[in-house]
Every structure is written in C-alpha cells, then in structure tokens.
C-alpha cells in the first residue's frame, strides 16, 4: 500500500521534470499544464498501482505520455507541424544563459516527434535506453535507432548551419560531419 503522504511528496519532487517533458511533447505551455494536471490526477487515483521504491519519474512519464497520445493528440493534430512546434518552444528563448540555443532549438524542432522524444528521454531526462523503451512502449532497438537518427539529423542540421556562421574552417567540419554517423559516442 502506497503511503499517500510519501506519494504526494514524490509527486511534488517530480513536478518540474514532469512539466518539462510535457512541454517538450505538447509544444505549448497551456496544453502542457493541462497535461500535467491530468497526469497528477491519474497518478493519484492509481496510487495503488505504483510500487514504492521503483522509478516514480518513469511511471509518471508513462502516464503523461499515454494521456497525451490517447486524449490530446487527436484533438490537436496541428501540433505536429514543425513550424508550430518551433515557434512555441521559442517561448523560452529569451532566457538563454551563456549559450545561444536558438539554432539548436530550431534543429530540434525539425526532428520527427518520435525521434525528438527518444532523444529527450535519454539525452536530457537521464533515462536509460531500457527505461525510455518502456516509457514509449516500444522495443529497445527502436529507441536506439530513433536516437541515432535524431543525432545524425541534428549533426547535419547544425553542421550546415555552422558553415554559414563560422566560415571555411567550419565548412571542412561540415564535409566530414555529413559522412556516415554510424559510430556515435556512448553506443
């Protein structure tokens, strides 16, 4: 039996992370907040289904993702449009710190949503490939291949961009980077 108070504390501790994932898949803050609220309610009502000591974040992300794809996506097909996503994500652009992330965001927005999601789960949210596969309800190999394709595409997009930004030396980088990206660090 899950202790409600500890469960609540656990949920509070995951709020920021949960909301960030919601924003990354919903692409719009209002929709993301509705999604977080629905997720919290579902999680609370299914508290008994959570096994204490297991990964609460993964459990919550799974609920959030399932909620999005079953309830939200059919209501809002336009969310898949690349341009829309890019614009909406740009809400955060003014808060850039030491790094200019505008180009990166634009490139990220160009990825197919399944690749972007896999990349965010593993590359930014700290999940293992196995956990990401569980959250997305797909095979481990599928996650790996989505991430490889995402990295490869981002490399192409960012390398081409850097040719414009940094001149001939970057051009040489771009030529090299446009080759096969089959060997990635960490694979």
């Amino acid at each position: 039996m899950t202790d409600p108070q500890r469960f609540k504390e656990g949920l509070v501790g995951e709020l920021q992370s949960l909301r960030a994932f919601a924003i990354s898949i919903a692409g719009n803050i209002d929709r993301a907040d509705d999604l977080v609220q629905d997720t919290l309610l579902k999680a609370w009502n299914n508290m008994h289904a959570y096994t204490e000591g297991t990964n609460l974040r993964a459990w919550l992300f799974t609920i959030l993702r399932n909620t999005f794809y079953s309830d939200y996506r059919k209501r809002s097909r336009e969310i898949e449009d690349d341009g829309t996503y890019s614009e909406r994500l740009a809400v955060h652009a003014e808060q850039d710190g030491h790094m200019d992330l505008t180009d990166f965001r634009t490139a990220l927005a160009k990825l197919p949503s399944d690749q972007r999601e896999a990349l965010i789960l593993v590359g930014a949210s700290g999940f293992s490939y196995e956990e990401a596969a569980e959250i997305c309800g797909c095979a481990l190999g599928t996650i790996k291949s989505r991430i490889n394709r995402a990295r490869s595409r981002l490399a192409d997009l960012l390398a081409v961009k850097s040719v414009d930004d940094f001149g001939p030396d970057a051009r040489a980088h771009a030529v090299l980077a446009s080759g096969p990206l089959s060997t990635l660090p960490g694979e």
Binding site: P4, Q5, K8, L11, V12, L15, Q16, S17, R19, A20, I23, S24, D33, V36, Q37, L40, L41, W44, H92, Q95, D96, G97, M99, L101, F104, R105, L108, L119, I120, G123, A124, S125, R151, L154, A155, L158, A159, P168, D169, R171, A172, H173, V175, L176, A177, G179, L181, T183, L184, P185
Partner: protein, 79 residues
Amino acid sequence: MKSTTNNGEGAGGRAPSGGGGSVGKGRPRRGRPPVNETLQHVIGSQLKAAYDEVVRQPIPDRFIELLGALEDKKSGGSE
C-alpha cells in the same frame, strides 16, 4: 585549420582544399571521425542546456494546490 589533419577519412578522400597540408600528428586514421565526436558532444550539451532551461521554469501554484487538496481529501477519509 586543425580539421585538415583528418584528410583521408570521413570525407571520402576529398580533401577540402588540397594544399598538401600537414597530415597526421599521431592521430589515428581509423575509428571515429573526431569531428563527429566533437559535434555529438556539442549536441549533447546543447540538448541538456535547452532542456534544463525548461526544467527550471517555476511551477505554477495550481499543481501544489491540487496535490494538497488531494492529500487532504484522502486523509479526511473520503468515502
């Protein structure tokens, strides 16, 4: 111009500018192209930075309030 030391791999043998430039300096000819490694490293850091920025957004009060209300209801013995 350190990238020209990588002639002979990755670029399919097409050296960007010829020039008979300096090749080698003890770099391995085979294996991962260093440029990809650098680029993937940059991509990794930018991804984390972009995502962390979103993670650091302040949480709307309504979520804390909602969880508080749910907990009160539970401990208040909602049948």
